[in-house]
């Protein structure tokens, strides 16, 4: 197989026909380049969509209060619905399939939070212990809010990493006391969050403590729950059940979807996944057509090359070239050009993506980059795509070459 003389002959031919070789090579390199870009684009979009949901538990319901829009039992529309601890207890006790449940009581506005001489304003969220799982907060030190905190209405606080950085600098915050609008809280835990940076600028305190300290009585502003590994149907059933239960308790029509607004993230997630699958299909189709275009391009050039060199084939055969050697000459040339240029196209494509040039370009074209994160290419996939084009391109070169090798010398030598 490795015959130096044969390769010298091929290099020689390529070198003497630079324009033609370059056009073939460019065709292949460009095809691979575009394909790699498409793959990076698809992967980035996949990462982006996942990221949108990674931040919070995917299979969850967010339940917000609203005002009634339908008359019910003689009550005119426009009644404000408010949640309280009873709603929390009711869902906890009576709805099956609920994995984690938490309420949120919003202490309105940003609060000045102080530690010794440092102070800044942060958002305060008062929540139940299960909130940890809903927000997918990652405890990096200490503990989260627990049932005992809730029962005893303890003044404890869990700080985001950003809060720690601002208030404590390099000091160790666990066990220290911070002051939130004049009330002292003991720091018992530090968390991190994969979502946006703002998610770590929040201080969590027990909901019972907040209700007591900030005059909330037993109010809850928002309820949030997860449903384990429920399917979409099961999650919609739970959603309906919760809605019906709240309708009965707060006396509004079950048809009234705006008295209590339930946001099903699971449904949203699946909808997004559907869109994502669709886009991926389009990308795959574009990729396949790019490949086909590349193969057609290479075979087209091979056809022209063989036609252009028919006389040369005639001469070579007249002085003793076997059909095998004629095919070999064309095939090796095609193979060499496609492999080298395919490799160059692949490397360029990968560099274009990995260097961030593609992201920058997309950004400058106004793509919503929240949905394109960490654009990258799987090396194996890139190699496979390159291999397919090289293989198909060479195969495309094989048939005209074989045909040419079978022409009788006298035919090949005929004057045009």
């Amino acid at each position: 197989m490795f015959d130096i003389d044969k390769w010298q002959e091929i290099f020689h031919t390529i070198d003497k026909n630079r324009l033609r070789s370059f056009i073939t090579a460019f065709n292949v390199a460009w095809g691979i380049f575009i394909l790699i870009i498409l793959m990076g684009f698809g992967r980035g979009f996949q990462n982006g969509v996942h990221h949108q949901f990674d931040d919070d538990a995917a299979n969850s319901l967010f339940i917000n209060t609203g005002t009634t829009t339908l008359p019910h039992r003689g009550i005119q529309p426009g009644k404000q619905i408010n949640f309280d601890n009873e709603d929390y207890n009711m869902i906890r006790e009576k709805v099956e399939g609920v994995e984690y449940l938490t309420g949120r009581y919003y202490v309105s506005g940003e609060f000045t939070v102080r530690y010794q001489d440092n102070y800044s304003s942060f958002s305060i969220r008062s929540v139940h212990p299960d909130h940890l799982h809903l927000e997918k907060s990652i405890m990096i030190e200490g503990r989260y809010i627990n049932d005992k905190d809730l029962m005893e209405k303890r003044k404890v606080a869990i700080l985001g990493t950003k809060v720690v950085k601002v208030l404590f600098g390099n000091k160790h915050p666990i066990g220290e006391y911070i002051t939130i609008n004049g009330i002292k809280y003991k720091v018992v835990g530090i968390y991190d969050d994969l979502g946006q940076e703002d998610e770590t600028k929040i201080i969590y305190i027990p909901i019972s403590t907040a209700q007591l300290a900030y005059g909330g009585g037993n109010r809850i502003h928002r309820l949030m729950l997860t449903m384990g590994d429920a399917t979409l149907e099961q999650s919609l059933e739970i959603q309906d059940k919760v809605h019906a239960m709240l309708a009965a308790k707060h006396v509004f029509s079950v048809e009234d979807k705006r008295a209590v607004r339930i946001f099903n993230i699971w449904e949203e997630y699946i909808r997004w996944m559907g869109i994502f699958d669709g886009i991926r299909l389009v990308l795959a189709a574009v990729g396949i057509f790019t490949l086909i275009a590349g193969v057609v391009g290479v075979s087209n050039i091979m056809l022209i090359v063989v036609k252009e060199r028919t006389r040369e084939i005639g001469v070579r055969k007249a002085i003793g070239a076997t059909p095998h050697s004629v095919i070999g000459l064309f095939l090796m040339e095609a193979l060499l050009i496609t492999i080298v240029s395919g490799y160059i196209g692949m490397i360029c494509g990968m560099m274009f993506i990995e260097s961030g040039l593609l992201s920058n370009l997309m950004l400058s074209f106004g793509f919503p980059m929240d949905f394109f994160i960490d654009l990258s290419v799987n090396f194996t996939n890139a190699v496979v795509a390159t291999f397919i084009l090289v293989f198909a391109g060479t195969l495309a070169g094989y048939f005209p070459a074989r045909k040419a090798s079978r022409i009788k010398p006298v035919e090949a030598l005929k004057d045009e």
Binding site: D5, H12, E312, K317, A318, I319, G320, T322, P323, L413
Partner: protein
Amino acid sequence: MEPSSMINLKQIQKSYPVGNQSLHVLKGIDMEVGKGELVSIMGSSGSGKSTLLNIIGILDGYDSGDYHLAGTLIKNLSEKRAAHYRNKFLGFVFQSFNLLNFKNAMENVALPLYYQKVSRKKRNSIALEYLDRVGLKEWAEHLPSELSGGQKQRIAIARALISDPKVILADEPTGALDSSTSKEVMEIFKEVNKLGKTVIIVTHEHDIAEGTDRIIMLKDGIILDRNFQLAS
């Protein structure tokens, strides 16, 4: 068949399809060329002389009859065997030279040895010897486009000689050359013949034919005369 016979044709027939019709080009050729002969084939255009030469050169097949080259029957050969015989036994010289324009003179001459798997270095040095023989050693590095018609034909002859074939076949070798270069080329063929090679030249030029040992005259696909005498 006599042992001294190099080319032996018996009842060779050949026709070409032209549209739906068939054009009968060779209508039963019986011909013999001995070892070391210098023969010319003459005939008006369309007489079948080039077709005959192509068959002898195994560049084309024939429909019926038998063709023996140096005692070997040349019939229904695989392309591979045909390639082998063309390479080993035959050297072809064309009217339009048929040099590869992207190779220099030396590489063109050396090409037949590439198909004999002679190393590049060795075949290039042999090619230089043959270029020297046709007086073109200094032009070894030149591309065909930089050479005159006569020079190109001498390179083509060197290429035909390099594999040391038994037979040299030339199809109108001087057709594209002026009369003085034609003479030089003819002198080379004579020298080659003196070295013992069988040479067959297809031509319609009397000057060329006169320089050969024997003239075979073809007309309408049959041999008119096996030893034609030109009127002087």
